[in-house]
């Protein structure tokens, strides 16, 4: 009975309009992010330092994987670098990078969603994926916890969700566009973060074996394989990337954590699992399809595997792709079931997404408002004036962060006063804020957010000789020495001289030959 209004709706909002809406949403979110030209955080400044460490490295000519070990793909560094090159301001680099990603994703999103989904589902999904990329907040955090940390994960979630949605065959196939979209998404993920890349490649193989999609997806798979082979041969950072992956697999394992932690992590996403599985069950009950069942299982398992490798409790976006595919399958049924009416299915998907839509748009607006009002405390470090620490009912982390900023500024001044001026610098016990602030040439080494027992471990780490090879100064964070730093500290205290000390830092210098 209520199938009738859907048809009229579809007629009133033709496919072109849906696509335009999708692009408009992405552009609006991009503008909200980029226009203020500032980075605002309410979490620890260390997260910003870690991001700026990477940015400073590539801007100084480092190649990820060749000059420093990292478990992330090169795009995780070159996207912010592009943001910097376009604005000339490190504070604007990250918001602009995310805005650029939104602009680049918009046509892909518009094509995939508009060609496959009913308008309501297409618009809801577009809003969700746009906000997931745009929101300067780790998914699952409270909406006052603003931070760009782990930004690459959010891009990965949106990209993998879009790719998963391609499982739905388009009523009017456009194999060439499909091929272009799939290739763009898979390459983006491989070059951004290997975990997403692996899942994306596996799923592309699944798509290429689908008779309905083969015309677009088989060539996509072939081209992606060829391009990746060329990349692997030509990219100088490849050996380092492989080594970091091997370290991560060795230290953290294929599935991280104890079974208790894994169960706890699953339960943190319990609501999404229940809702997505319910819709998938409905869809399979109405029309059992083996490939659909495989697809739902892939979303549920691969989605968890991805979050298991992220620093993130909530936010398995593939479950939303799963629900949307199931909803679309149900809506395409000629005669709806009484217990799953079209309006019920649409409301159900709305109910699943709306809390996140409200949460993320509130956080995005909050970031834009604070950034535009210049109200928060600017970082007292050279080059970071347009990065601001705000207190949005987060007095605790604001006070701790402010103290850390003061200590860092003090230590930077001490370093700057050293004679002869400092050369390459390595920080033990946290990310490196000094090299960027003093514009020092970065030392070779590792990316600062390699995590103990996850991406490195007692048997999987660079040797002290590798780490200290070209280092002039070692900065030891007095309060922050963990097991990872203990690997290197003895070599430092053994052969370097203590040259300066503040309340929070000790600086060691390699003796002049």
């Amino acid at each position: 009975m209520s199938a009738v209004p859907d048809v009229t709706w579809r007629r009133r909002l033709p496919t072109v309009t849906v696509a335009q809406w999708v692009v408009c949403m992405a552009l609006a979110a991009a503008l909200l992010l980029a226009l203020p030209g500032q980075t605002v955080t309410t979490k620890s400044p260390e997260e910003v330092f870690a991001l700026f460490d990477g940015l400073h490295r590539v801007l100084s000519g480092h190649i990820p994987g060749r000059d420093f070990l990292t478990a992330q793909g090169p795009l995780a560094f070159y996207l912010p670098a592009l943001g910097y090159l376009l604005t000339g301001s490190p504070g604007a680099a990250f918001p602009l990078a995310m805005a650029l990603v939104l602009v680049a994703l918009a046509p892909v999103m518009a094509h995939i969603l508009a060609s496959r989904l009913q308008p309501v589902l297409a618009l809801l999904t577009a809003a969700l994926l746009t906000l997931v990329v745009a929101v300067p907040m780790a998914l699952g955090d409270g909406l006052t916890q603003l931070s760009f940390a782990q930004f690459h994960n959010r891009i990965g979630w949106a990209a993998i969700s879009l790719l998963l949605l391609m499982h739905l065959p388009a009523p009017a196939p456009q194999p060439l566009r499909d091929m272009a979209c799939a290739m763009a998404l898979v390459l983006l993920m491989v070059l951004l973060r290997p975990t997403y890349g692996i899942v994306a490649l596996l799923f592309l193989v699944f798509l290429a074996t689908d008779p309905a999609q083969r015309r677009g997806m088989l060539p996509a798979l072939g081209l992606v394989a060829a391009l990746l082979a060329a990349f692997a041969l030509l990219w100088p950072g490849m050996p380092g990337m492989l080594r970091a992956l091997e370290m991560a697999a060795g230290a953290g394992g294929i599935l991280r954590g104890s079974w208790g932690q894994i169960l706890d992590h699953l339960l943190a996403n319990f609501t999404d699992y229940v809702l997505a599985l319910l819709l998938a069950g409905f869809a399979l009950h109405r029309r059992p399809r083996l490939r659909d069942a495989l697809f739902y299982a892939f979303c549920a398992v691969a989605g968890f595997w991805l979050i298991n490798h992220n620093l993130q409790r909530w936010g398995i976006l593939p479950l939303y792709a799963m629900a949307v595919v199931a909803a679309e399958r149900l809506l395409r049924q000629p005669r709806p079931a009484v217990w799953a009416t079209p309006s019920g299915i649409k409301l159900f998907v709305t109910a699943m997404m709306l809390p996140t839509l409200v949460h993320c748009s509130a956080a995005l607006l909050l970031h834009a408002a604070v950034a535009a009002s210049n109200s928060a405390r600017a970082f007292p470090l050279a080059g970071m004036e347009r990065v601001r620490l705000a207190s949005l009912w987060t007095e605790g982390s604001f006070a701790a962060g402010g103290a850390l900023l003061d200590q860092t500024a003090e230590a930077t001044a001490v370093l700057a006063a050293l004679s002869p001026p400092p050369g390459r610098l390595l920080v033990l016990g946290g990310p490196d804020p000094f090299s960027a602030a003093l514009d020092l040439p970065p030392a070779r080494g590792i990316q600062p957010d390699l995590r103990w027992l996850e991406t490195m471990g007692p048997d999987h780490h660079p040797t002290p000789a590798e780490m200290l090879a070209d280092v002039d100064i070692v900065a030891e964070r007095v309060a922050g020495i963990g097991p990872a730093e203990q690997l290197y500290l003895p070599s430092v205290t053994g052969s370097f001289d203590l040259v300066a000390e503040t309340a929070q830092w000790r600086f060691y210098r390699r003796p002049a030959p």
Binding site: T144, D264, V274, L275, L278, T341, G344, T350, A351, L354
Partner: protein, 495 residues
């Protein structure tokens, strides 16, 4: 009846899952649980709440575990059996209120949601690993209030006495569990007085509730004490400001958003000021109630408001009406399943005899288990301290009785089967019901105490000892200080 059978079956299943293992397993808030076991023991020893001991919680909070203890004869069975009894009493109310007001496709999920809320051996919204019967009164209060709110829907057939009796019981139940829920319930019935269509049953319900309270007082004679203890607690506990409410709202954002969506869809059709007032009441009372509890999640008046809105939208019968059951399911199903899983986990652990019994002779069927990863070392030390305290007390000559512990909970009267002291507080929570400024004078708190125990490791023994030190020095003498416990016995200080 289409509702009675499935809801009774679910309640029976939940009750069996609670009762059959004959054990209480706790992984969190163990000190709170001990308060209710102590309460059950006090009643079993002939004490009456608010007459023989102070408490700001209602008498039902003590009667329920006492009934469980009486029926099972075991402190480990007290809470599970108590909650099973509550389920048995609640299901008829559920059927009588929901049956005539909501179509089964909404009433069944909402009813099942409330049954699982009562049966849940944990606080709603917390991790599945935080098993505890502690703060069960909040679940009862929420469930009763949520069911009462459904009475804003008009029944298919008016039945004045049925409605008034149900409403009166749903006012009295929360009022005798935790006063704030009772206040909200009375507020709602008063709101109903303003509506001519509801006025008759609301007025009769208030009258019946007043009569009921009078009848209870005839037997209990503790109402004045209840009020006095409530006032003390209210004075000590800090007021919550607008900012706390905003924080709670942010913590419950998904519920708020879905509530607004469902209420908005229902309002879009018939934009009645009355409906708005009702949804506003759900929101405001729920926020205030949650701010008064130790939890950060679970404004369960919103779930009731959403169920009411779904029924209104379906009764209205236009476009999204057919989608309401699925929409309501999206709100209720994940929580319901999580609660069912938590209940199942408790039963499994209870059957498997997981964890260790709390180290006092009468608490062998109350088991503690660390499910937190990493472990919470404090609880291990706290429980080891209780076991050592029990051993010390058992050795004491002359034999211990009328023990008061200067800490949050007193597990010894129940755990060793001692005659409990009179005139003290059911529990002592610093800056909640005892503070520097407002406290029972030591002469009264310890008036009946023979032994006073002060632990080294406890929730808040330090400030309590400082506060009551003068009385201890005057009227007691220290007989022992070992194994983490200092024990004072009534009598002149040794020369």
């Amino acid at each position: 009846m289409r509702l009675a059978l499935p809801l009774s079956a679910l309640a029976l299943l939940a009750a069996l899952l609670l009762v059959l293992p004959g054990q209480t397993v706790t992984t969190a808030y163990t000190n709170d649980l001990l308060v209710f076991l102590d309460g059950a023991h006090r009643l079993a020893s002939g004490q009456v709440p608010n007459r023989d001991f102070h408490t700001a919680l209602g008498p039902l909070v003590y009667l329920i575990p006492f009934a469980g203890l009486w029926l099972t004869g075991s402190l480990g069975g007290a809470m599970p059996m108590g909650m099973a009894l509550v389920l048995a009493a609640f299901v008829p109310l559920l059927v009588q209120v929901l049956g005539p007001r909501m179509r089964p496709v909404l009433a069944l999920p909402f009813g099942a949601f409330l049954v699982l809320l009562i049966a849940l051996p944990a606080n709603p919204g917390e991790r599945i690993t935080a098993l505890s019967f502690a703060m069960f009164y909040n679940r009862l209060g929420w469930a009763a209030l949520a069911l009462l709110l459904v009475m804003v829907l008009r029944p298919q057939q008016q039945n004045l006495w049925r409605d008034a009796i149900c409403a009166a019981l749903l006012v009295l139940l929360p009022a005798y569990v935790k006063a704030t829920y009772g206040l909200a319930a009375i507020g709602f019935v008063c709101l109903m007085l303003l509506d001519p269509r509801h006025r008759r049953w609301a007025a009769l319900a208030l009258a019946l509730a007043a009569l009921g309270a009078g009848a209870v007082e005839l037997v209990w004679r503790g109402s004045a004490g209840y009020m006095a203890d409530l006032m003390t607690t209210a004075r000590i506990s800090a007021e919550r400001g607008g900012r706390d409410l905003a924080r709670i709202a942010l913590g419950n954002l998904p519920t708020l958003v879905l509530f607004a969506l469902i209420a908005g869809l229902a309002l879009r059709r018939v934009s009645a000021l009355r409906d708005l007032a009702f949804y506003g009441f759900c929101l405001v009372s729920g926020l205030l109630l949650l701010s008064q509890s130790a939890q950060g999640w679970g404004i369960l008046t919103l779930h009731a408001g959403a169920a009411v809105a779904a029924e209104k939208a379906m009764a209205d019968g236009r476009a999204p009406a057919a989608g309401m059951p699925l929409l309501l399911a999206a709100l209720l199903l994940p929580i319901g399943l999580h609660n069912a899983a938590t209940l199942g986990l408790h039963s499994t652990l209870a059957v498997a005899r997981a964890g260790e019994p709390i180290g006092l002779p009468h608490l062998q069927e109350v088991r503690f288990l660390q499910l937190r990863d990493p472990r919470n070392p404090f609880v291990d030390r706290y429980l080891a301290g209780l076991a050592r305290g029990g051993e010390v007390l058992a050795r004491l000559q002359p034999a211990a009785e009328r023990v008061v512990v200067l800490d949050f909970a007193n597990p010894f009267s129940a755990g060793l089967g001692l005659v409990p002291a009179r005139g003290d507080w059911s529990w002592l929570h610093w800056n909640r019901n005892v503070s520097e400024g407002y406290h029972l004078p030591g002469e009264m708190l310890l008036a009946d105490a023979d032994l006073v125990l002060v632990p080294e490791i406890g929730i808040n023994p330090g400030p309590l000892l400082a506060l009551y030190r003068p009385v201890l020095d005057r009227e007691f003498r220290q007989v022992l200080a070992e194994d983490g416990w200092t024990i004072f016995r009534r009598g002149e200080a040794a020369p």
